[in-house]
Subunit: 341 residues, 2 copies
DNA sequence: TGGCAAAAGCTAAACGATTAGCTTTTATGA
DNA sequence: TCATAAAAGCTAATCGTTTAGCTTTTGCCA
């Protein structure tokens, strides 16, 4: 049977109140501190978190909602968040929403039943009212990653998706490219749309009309995406560059290019999105937009813990933290002659 | 403030004992059942799991140790396990070991502090004594996936790695291949070694000597693996087929082949390992060994819950469940003329 | 040395559930 | 209708903490 606070009290001759105070960082007489430390060590005492949670009504636990375990973006974020939270003695329940709003609702119900003190989430929708109803039900603070709801119902951490895409496409334009294809991902997907917007804006600012046939809206679950991408390169007038908006589209693009025997950057230039280990695995080294996941997790954790700490107070205003993405330089862009100013 | 069992008691005029009995599936008078159901619904009652855990000394929580969130094999397994556990009203703490034994120890300490009722794990070592010390410290039952310790200290679920590899290589041999390269992964890694053993056995049984230069021991963390693999194909006498032992080696092999412009199966045949979405993304469709993750998770869950249920009883004997892997047929193997019996 | 404020320690009542052991109600059959 | 066993319900103690409110001890200075 595990040692309890009472055992410590008995072993040291102190009262449970004093032991509790000590365990929670309160001050005790020097000689007692030593006694207590010794007793804790010798009895191998570990606090019973359930008893504590019952009494304090705080579980010191946070939920993290990912679309799917193994989702490379969300997993990495969760991984960073664990580290940050541990420093504050919080622990993390990770759970899956299975990429559906129904799944998200269930997951939040589940987390509420675990009485988490807060929730971090990557959600699929953008309907503020819908989520407000769900969040309000339990009154648990939420921090949302990389998505803006159509009105604020929680704190949010986003990267400047459109801006990063704008920079990426601009880099291609600067290198002299004009026929720039975009693999824009699933329409209606927040980040994909934002990044496409950046593409459009960069093209417009450079005075280059967007050709419809160079815009490929491949879906995340599209098993034929491979074929779709191949089509791009069998066109009479091939694009000279591609901008791809996320990890999945980037990976698929590379595979399609390889299979079609189109070499990068000689025959086509490529600007991808999301690193993970792409920059180490793929040759030539890609130009990539990299999301600073550690920073995002850090900001998210801070927002959430602040919100948890100030529970019950004024909560009218929510914050949005905007983080700059990184551009990783590579060898995947060819300078086209006659380019530049 | 959330409703408690007392509120339900008050609302129904029954005692808390009766309410508790009802909540735990005990029988109550028909008219009371209705009253109780109504009260639970109207007060939006949810049990306080912390209070229950404190009293029963059972958290109805299981820990799942993965090397890294995002690890495709472990994540998929965890995902399946969540589903199975939920059916039994258990929930899952997923945590990372960061691919180190130190990390594993920390994670187990952490899970113990959460008072999980059991642990599922993918571990990196095979030293039974080492793990015995760790497991015994808390007396929490453990189920281990896809690894055998050098003596039994917990229940284990494995697939027949060597057997599956044997079948795969045999398929290549049957198609007439003799120069079969193997990307064997990290030496000392249990599953990789097992699969290599299957390769060796298949070659031996067919009377084909294993050529050392066709055996590539690429490490999981090896950023040059790409180059290593390329070396294989610049040899004077190229292999005609490759057997690759896991997801990572398979992905890397495909990329290297693509870059070197070696077409599958015309120029080289390929038998890979681990599906995930490889079979949907890569063309031509690969021959693959697929691990039946859902079955593995199911068996693991069953073993663990059995062990949890019979806590404190005789525990001298541990079980190992051996599961057959699936062979997915593809178009990545070329029949070499003059093959067969 | 005595007085006093601050620091340290203590007692006891919660938190929300479960459960042993007892009492009341119900159903059954003669 | 009554005796009785089974079913249903109840009381009260308990799990391991925290914490309000009180008491004791300590250290400091006049």
């Amino acid at each position: 049977m595990a040692a309890t606070i009472k055992d410590i009290a008995r072993a040291t001759g102190l009262s449970v109140a004093t032991v509790s105070k000590f365990l929670n960082g309160g001050t005790v007489r020097e000689q007692n501190r030593e006694l207590l430390q010794k007793a804790v060590r010798e009895l191998d005492y570990h606090i019973n978190e359930y008893a504590r949670a019952l009494k304090t009504n705080r579980s010191r636990t946070v939920g993290f909602l990912v679309p799917k375990f193994g989702d490379v973006f969300a997993s990495e974020l969760a991984s960073e968040a664990v580290t940050k939270l541990k420093e504050q003695q919080y622990s993390l329940f990770v759970c899956e929403s299975h990429n559906s709003m129904e799944g998200e609702r269930e997951a939040i119900d589940f987390l509420a039943s675990k009485q988490v003190d807060g929730i971090m989430a990557t959600l699929i929708g953008t309907d503020g009212w819908y989520y407000k109803r769900i969040f309000d039900r339990y009154g648990i603070p939420v921090v949302l990653f990389d998505r803006k709801l159509d009105f604020d119902v929680c704190d949010t951490v986003v990267i400047d998706n459109a801006g990063a895409a704008y920079q990426a496409v601009n880099r291609l334009i600067d290198a002299g490219h004009r026929d720039i294809a975009v693999i824009r991902g699933h329409q209606g997907h927040y980040t994909a749309d934002q990044r496409y917007e950046g593409y459009e804006r960069a093209m417009k600012d450079a005075g280059i009309p967007v050709k419809e046939e160079l815009v490929l809206a491949v879906d995340y679950a599209d098993t034929n995406m491979y074929d779709h991408i191949k089509c791009l390169f069998t066109m009479k007038q091939r694009p000279t560059a591609i901008f791809s908006v996320n990890y999945f589209t980037t990976i698929s693009t590379i595979m399609a290019l390889n299979e079609l025997d189109i070499s990068v950057p000689q025959e086509i230039s490529l600007f991808g999105f999301d690193n993970y280990h792409l920059s180490q695995i793929v040759k030539p080294r890609l130009w990539l937009v990299e999301q600073p996941l550690a920073r995002m997790a850090e900001e998210g954790t801070r927002l959430l813990l602040d919100r948890i700490g100030s529970k019950g107070q004024e909560e009218a205003t929510f914050h949005t933290v905007n983080i700059q993405a990184n551009i990783l330089q590579g060898d995947s862009i060819r300078q086209i002659s006659g380019a530049g100013a």
